[in-house]
Amino acid sequence: MKNNLRELRKERGWTQEDLAIELSVSRQTINALEAGRYDPSLPLAFKIARLFGRTAEEIFDDSDEA
């Protein structure tokens, strides 16, 4: 699933480690999420959306998979 997590993170000047700490996940998970190699669970997707003040649909795009 495509997403704009990397862009949102860079807008805030955060490193992957910073984002991992904010979300209480590992740095590898952030890396996999940004690369689109891992689709988050609903609770994690909502946590990410809340952190960036966006909706889940604004961050994650599943149009390729529909």
């Binding site: 480690e17 996940v25 590992s26 740095r27 590898q28 996999a32 994690l44």
Partner: protein
């Protein structure tokens, strides 16, 4: 040499700052402040970091305990039992630490660990069963069963590294 030579301060903030150490005057000439890059880790990363250290210590102790149990014959049978129980207790401690680090991990890493455990368990059981049949039917050398768990840990380490690299 400054007058405040007794001053010794160390700050360990868990924020975005760096570590600062104020070294007492006289120790390194004039009083100096050394800034060290801070190692910040998310809770799952910190748990895995702790596990790596603990696992190393437990495995080292296990190796020494197995060596002692195999080579030292204590004077009393009770001490002998105690000596044999030590490596078993260390393996149980490793298993506890192993499950604790998986429990504290995030959803993606938990999934990865569970897949690696499933694959490694099946592989180790398959190899052990195969070897058991070879022992019974064609007289292959006996496989010491106490190697099963360390064998599983080694296979799991390789499998999880490969799975992690492919993700």
């Amino acid at each position: 040499m400054g007058g405040s030579s007794s001053q010794w301060k160390a700050y360990f903030p868990y924020g975005k700052e760096t570590f600062h150490f104020q070294v007492p005057a006289g120790l390194l000439g004039e009083r100096q402040e050394i800034a060290m890059p801070e190692t910040r880790r998310s809770p799952p990363d910190a748990a895995r970091h702790r596990f790596a250290f603990r696992q190393g210590a437990i495995m080292l102790a296990f190796g020494l305990a197995v060596f002692a149990a195999a080579w030292w014959v204590p004077p009393s049978p009770a001490l002998r039992w105690l000596l044999v129980a030590l490596p078993i207790a260390l393996l149980a401690l490793w298993a506890w630490e192993f499950f604790k680090v998986i429990r504290d991990d995030d959803e993606m890493m938990q999934g990865l660990a569970l897949r690696a455990i499933s694959f490694s368990s099946v592989l180790v059981l398959l190899l052990a069963t195969m070897w058991g049949m070879l022992e019974r039917l064609v007289g292959a050398p006996q496989l010491p069963l106490f190697l099963l768990m360390p064998g599983f840990a080694a296979v799991y380490g390789i499998v999880s590294t490969i799975m992690g690299a492919r993700r």
